[in-house]
């Protein structure tokens, strides 16, 4: 973003000099020059409030156990006076608020937690400076406020809901204002209107009063939800009132119109305890919070999303902030619960804007991409075009007119919206995959095959291959033991590359399909067996004879091959040692299955250049009882590699998929593999995957799938998702009152609510009833009944229909 000249011109000595000059000019108004640095001093106790005297040379700190005046010197705070005197100070010294009179420099007022309003005269010769004591409020006084120009007028606001105006020349309050509501949190005289003051209340209201009319308020409006902790009139602009509330907002109200109008709103991160306009800066205000957040923020109200400046010195919540001088914007004083008093220099403030990332990026619901950045970054973009109405294909730009009067707010960024191409944003594959995948209910190998097929059809060969691999790795080794020796005997002592696994299906019905795959596998072997031409021919023949056309070797798989050939560099290297096959089949397809060969097998391959895998294949094609689905040398590892050998690899693979964003794959594999892999992955990760996948499914409104996933998951945290809000409330059919404990008997009328019309027993499970005559009963009974009769089993004569 683009700022004009900042007020803090780091490394610009010329400007810096200018600023100093300016500060001297402004402070000259206050009749004494202000200078200083960021500094602090320790107090003995937490502060509740602070206030400065008019000439900005002294500050008073008040709290439950502290009431002191400090002098502000160039380099440090100097304790001037301790007002908390007496051996056992009374609760009158326990201050909720303090204010130094802006006209009379010897006059202070405090609000005590016990409900007393106390004034202090520093001119008194005695040690105890207490001047007047008003105990008219029944509850804690939250705020006291001197009239800005009238010397003897003091206003207080209390927890009891009353505001009182005191004339300091009299012993009692001169007028009482009843807010007619809950506690008063803040009262502030208007800086410009002599007679007006504002009061903020715990119930969220702000009231405006005329000091001459104690009978009722001039106007009232609701400013916040929850208590309004503070308010502050703009020092220059007569109509502006800033309020801060527990709802974490600071609002600026324009009071000049008939109805108070909210003109600015700043959202902070914690409830707002104090708000103070910054002198000489029309748009700036400082806030601090009552809980959790210890920082002081200075906001530019026109830019409510990021603080203009932040003071981060305090270690506990800041309880009081005040600008040191009413015409100097560079010095801020603050007191805190951490028992420190700080003077902050504006030039030492941290500027969150500098650290903020000036670029924003966001995806839209339909895959559109919005990008906002500093204007200068984008200006070189030749594609810039005005926003053409409804077409979102083109970047759009918003510009903010530079406001020459202010330095900070020169922000202009450009917002571009890019529409993503249809294909890339399309999530059809996700939906289809989710629908078509089988996650349970069939033997493991079938599930893998099925899912592999699904993935393949959706043009996702890598996923498809993964499924196939998984099937190979984790297929039950018990079934493989029989063909193992058999093959070996035929092949002599050569290690097997491609004997055939005998899977659980020995039925003829599988024959065709298996053969199809055999063909595929035989091709796969070629790189390893290039020396035997005849075998290839044979394969070709076999294939031809089978007439399988379902496997296409189109270009679609090209990418995938590349992928894997890169991944398995070893193998590729080895392949080069052999002359490549001469036949017409494209090579890429066979590689598809390569990854399922564990890498250490490459060694074997190298050892046996004349690997007679094809022989085995031939053997397989002869009508024996062993059919292979995929002719990869399973016996090789099934004999000495238990399935859990692959677990680390699979775990890595799942993490890989999950990290790639394909949590679908991760979860599906997790479910299909079940116990085989579950223990390898820690529960939290699993839970995380499940949650993400379920969330995705639900966004695509795939409720059934998501439910299936929940059901099949083994994490207790996931399965319990199905247990929530599963209560179904029913009313009794007799007395129409809700049935509380059981679905079939009513507590009140002690009648069984649902009796089967056929067997006259209580139905405790599924109850089916005719919508015509409202008789019904056990689902099964009614079904059977209506098979033989078309009339209602209850004998009401209705012709029920069961569809």
């Amino acid at each position: 973003m683009h700022f004009g000249q900042r007020e803090r011109p780091r490394g610009l000595p010329l400007l810096f000099g200018a600023m100093e000059k300016m500060s001297r000019v402004t402070t000259a108004l206050g009749s004494s020059a202000i200078s200083g640095r960021t500094m602090f001093c320790h107090l003995d106790a937490p502060a509740n409030a602070i206030s400065v005297c008019r000439d900005a040379t002294q500050v008073v700190v008040a709290g439950r156990n502290i009431f002191k005046i400090y002098g502000l010197e160039e380099e440090q705070f100097v304790e001037k006076l301790n007002l908390r005197v007496g051996r056992k100070p009374s609760l009158n010294f326990s201050c909720a608020d303090v204010m130094w009179h802006q006209m009379e420099e010897n006059l202070l007022a405090t609000a005590a937690t016990n409900g007393a309003v106390v004034t202090w005269n520093l001119g008194k010769p005695s040690r105890n400076k207490q001047d007047q004591l008003f105990t008219e409020h029944k509850r804690t006084v939250n705020k006291v406020c001197f009239h800005p120009t009238e010397v003897y007028m003091l206003l207080s606001g209390s927890q009891d809901g009353y505001m009182k105006c005191f004339d300091l020349r009299k012993k009692e309050s001169v007028s009482t204002f009843s807010g007619q509501s809950e506690s008063v949190r803040d009262v502030q005289f208007s800086m410009k209107d002599y007679f007006t003051f504002a009061a903020s209340f715990e119930n969220g209201n702000v009231q405006l009063w005329d000091i001459r009319r104690p009978d009722r308020y001039e106007r009232m409006f609701t400013a916040h939800t929850g208590p309004v902790f503070c308010c502050d009139w703009h020092p220059d602009d007569r109509g502006w009132l800033a309020t801060g509330g527990r709802d974490k907002m600071v609002k600026v109200w324009d009071m000049t119109t008939n109805r108070a109008k909210e003109i600015y709103c700043v959202q902070t991160i914690a409830s707002v305890a104090r708000v103070k306009w910054r002198p000489e800066r029309k748009w700036h205000l400082a806030t601090c919070s009552m809980m959790v957040d210890h920082n002081i923020y200075v906001w530019d109200v026109r830019r409510p999303f990021i603080p203009f400046a932040t003071f981060e010195e305090h270690k506990d919540v800041t309880t009081g902030i005040v600008w040191r001088h009413q015409h100097d914007p560079y010095f801020l004083l603050s007191g805190s619960k951490d028992s420190t008093l700080y003077q902050h220099m504006f030039k030492d403030a941290s500027r969150p804007v500098d650290r903020a990332n000036p670029e924003g990026l966001c995806f839209g619901l339909f895959g559109d991409l919005a990008f906002a950045a500093k204007e200068s970054l984008i200006s070189g973009d030749t594609n810039r075009k005005p926003y053409p109405g409804g077409d979102r294909r083109y970047p759009i730009f918003f510009f903010k007119k530079p406001d020459l009067t202010e330095q900070f707010a020169h922000v202009s960024s450009a917002l571009s919206v890019f529409e993503s191409s249809l294909e890339s944003r399309c999530m059809d594959w996700f939906v289809k995959t989710a629908r078509l995948y089988l996650l349970g209910g069939k033997p493991f190998a079938e599930l893998c095959d099925h899912n592999a097929k699904v993935a393949k059809e959706l043009n996702r060969p890598q996923v498809s291959t993964t499924w196939t691999m998984l099937r190979l790795m984790f297929s039950d080794p018990a079934n493989l033991s029989t063909p193992g020796p058999n093959n070996i005997s035929k092949l002599g002592n050569l290690p097997l590359m491609n004997s055939f696994s005998m899977k659980e299906m020995g039925t003829e019905s599988r024959l065709d399909r298996s053969k199809g795959e055999i063909r595929q596998d035989s091709i796969h072997l070629e790189p390893g067996n290039s020396l035997i031409n005849s075998n290839n021919d044979e394969n070709e023949e076999t294939e031809g004879s089978e007439g399988q056309a379902e496997y296409m070797f189109g270009d679609a798989e090209l990418d995938d091959d590349d992928l894997y050939s890169i991944e398995l560099e070893n193998q590729a290297a080895e392949e080069q040692e052999y002359t490549l096959p001469q036949e017409a089949f494209p090579l890429r397809h066979e590689i598809m299955d390569n990854p399922s060969v564990p890498e250490h097998l490459q060694q074997d391959k190298a050892d046996s250049p004349h690997a007679s895998g094809n022989e085995a294949e031939v053997m397989c094609l002869t009508p024996t009882e062993s059919f292979s689905l995929i002719a990869i040398s399973q016996p090789l590892f099934s004999t000495h590699l238990p399935a859990h050998f692959f677990c680390p690899v699979v775990r890595e693979m799942l993490s890989h998929y999950a990290e790639q964003g394909d949590v679908q794959m991760a979860v599906s594999v997790l479910i299909v593999l079940g116990d085989r892999i579950r223990k390898e992955i820690d529960d939290l990760t699993q839970e995380h995957w499940y949650m993400s996948y379920i969330d995705l499914l639900q966004r695509f409104e795939l409720w059934n799938v998501s439910n299936e996933v929940i059901k099949l998951s083994t994490c207790s945290a996931i399965t319990c998702l199905n247990q929530t809000s599963t209560t179904l409330h029913v009313n009794c059919s007799n007395c129409k009152r809700p049935m509380s404990n059981r679905g079939w008997i009513c507590d009140r009328c002690h009648q069984c609510a649902s009796v089967c019309a056929v067997c006259h027993h209580v139905v405790k499970g599924l109850f089916v009833w005719c919508q015509g005559c409202s008789h019904g009963g056990h689902l099964e009974h009614v079904m059977n009944w209506l098979k033989s009769s078309s009339h209602c089993p209850a004998g009401c004569g209705h012709l029920c229909e069961y569809t």
């Binding site: 439950r64 009374s90 105990t135 527990r246 009552m290 809980m291 506990d316 919540v317 247990q723 209560t727």
Partner: protein, 483 residues
């Protein structure tokens, strides 16, 4: 399932210690005040409640259906239904705590409720939530006892017992222990949820005992697993019969005519109201009044505590360190914990912000509940109408806080002394600090002229005051941990 075999075989019907005591008393010929065994409360005649709900029969029902888990109006709801306005905000916040989005899983919430209620041996709440827990159908073996629950929940026991009995002892170290990273650590949000649950159910136990809520007789629960856990409690009314020995020995306050008692109270309130203006008690005076009230609270009803035998009820399996009980906040000749200044950490300013930040929206609901409880008034006292009861309500509320060491700078604790008679103080102390000892006699002995609904109102105030006190201590500890 850990119901021991012998307990089944020897005696199918359990009689707890307390009842055995009562039975022995009966045998000795001592007159035992007979509780109302039917109806929702042992203290309040059923007709009274029925009558009240007749006026507005639907609200209660509708509310319960909307918010209570079973759609069933239980005894607690019926008694609280005497104040439908309050009931609504109560049920709403309870529903939110137990059912709606929150950091803790549903079954844990009920388990925490069980843990909290068990601290006060409140079998009513325990069995209610055991049933709810059972309904969840998860981790059922936790119901065998606290030692079967995961370590994480058991770690909560430490603050559970402190909050239940001596909340002023909670420190940021307790919070730190729970939150510090480790296998069984709690997140702050979860912890806040748990703390609110604990405070809620501790306070609710006070209400249950204070109003003598009768256990829910569940006739249909005769079969299955559930009954193993639930139905074999002794069906005695825990609330009304035990500790009658102490009760009998306490002096009967009913010596003065009760009508004049009421008049006197009204008089005092009026006088205080008028005195206000010229009341010029010095600050020292005010401070001593608080101290006096605090000190006096420990004389009130602090009977023979030591011989307390933990009843071997089914509830005790959810209790660890059962000997940890209430001790007076202010004790003679010891270093007392510092007084909690209400102005320095108030619910509205601080508690709310913290709670709402970590567990969104609960702050609003609790705020609403506290306000409703504090502002609830019908402008009448016993037979007198159009009375401003603010003072009395405030005295009750602040007296509870005073016993917990929370002081309001702007409150004159002399008022407590004027407005709350001794028998009432005994009752308040018992209900808030060790509610399991409440007896019908205590309930009956104060404010004889007042209606039952007004006494329930008192209980509501006590409950809310106690909950707020616990929350304030707990949340202050969390705040201190965070800063």
């Amino acid at each position: 399932m850990n119901v021991s075999a012998e307990s089944f075989t020897s005696n199918p019907f359990h009689i707890c210690n307390i009842c055995q005591k009562v039975i022995r008393k009966k045998e000795k010929g001592v007159r035992v005040p007979r509780p109302f065994s039917s109806g929702p409360s042992a203290f309040i005649p059923e007709e009274e409640i029925v009558e009240a709900s007749q006026v507005d029969p639907h609200t209660e029902q509708i509310l319960a259906e909307a918010y209570s888990p079973s759609g069933h109006v239980d005894h607690l709801t019926r008694v609280m239904g005497l104040h439908p306005h309050y009931l609504e905000s109560f049920l709403r916040s309870q529903f939110y705590l137990l059912r709606m989005d929150g950091p803790l899983p549903l079954h844990c919430r009920h388990y925490i409720a069980i843990m909290a209620a068990a601290r006060h041996q409140c079998s009513f709440l325990v069995s209610l939530h055991v049933r709810e827990f059972y309904r969840m159908g998860m981790c059922l073996d936790w119901l065998k006892g606290l030692q079967y629950a995961p370590q994480r929940l058991r770690n909560l026991n430490e603050i559970n017992k402190i909050l239940a009995h001596r909340p002023w002892l909670i420190t940021k170290e307790h919070i730190q222990n729970l939150v510090k990273t480790g296998e069984h650590s709690w997140s702050l949000a979860e912890l806040v949820h748990a703390v609110v649950l604990l405070a809620h159910f501790h306070a609710l136990a006070s209400f249950v005992f204070g109003s003598g809520i009768n256990p829910q007789v569940d006739t249909q629960n005769a079969n299955g697993f559930q009954s193993v856990y639930i139905s074999n409690y002794c069906t005695c009314d825990l609330a009304s019969d035990h500790h009658l020995d102490r009760d009998l020995s306490s002096t009967s306050p009913g010596t003065t005519d009760s009508v004049s008692e009421l008049e006197a109270l009204m008089d005092r309130m009026k006088r205080l109201q008028e005195e206000r203006e010229e009341d010029e008690a010095s600050q020292e005076e005010m401070a001593t009044r608080f101290e006096k009230e605090k000190k006096e609270s420990l004389l009130v009803g602090s009977g023979d505590m030591k011989d307390e035998v933990m009843p071997t009820s089914k509830v005790s399996r959810f209790v660890e360190d059962a000997t940890f009980g209430y001790q007076n906040f202010a004790r003679h000749g010891e270093d007392n914990p510092p007084t909690f200044r209400a102005q320095d950490y108030s619910w509205k300013d601080h508690g709310f912000s913290l709670v709402n930040r970590l567990y969104s929206d609960i702050g609003l609901l609790l705020d609403d509940k506290f306000r409703t409880a504090c502002d609830l008034t019908y402008y009448n006292m016993a037979s007198h109408e159009d009375v401003d009861t603010t003072m009395l309500r405030r005295a009750l509320f602040n007296y509870v806080h005073c016993m917990y060491g929370i002081r309001y700078d702007d409150y004159d604790y002399g008022e407590v002394n004027q407005l709350l008679e001794r028998s009432l103080k005994v009752y308040i102390k018992t209900v808030t600090c060790y509610p399991e000892r409440t007896t019908r006699r205590m309930y009956d002995s104060y404010w004889r002229q007042f209606r039952h609904s007004e006494k329930v109102h008192v209980n509501l105030l006590l409950m809310e005051a106690r909950m707020q006190a616990e929350l304030l201590y707990a949340l202050r500890a969390i705040t201190r941990y965070m800063t």
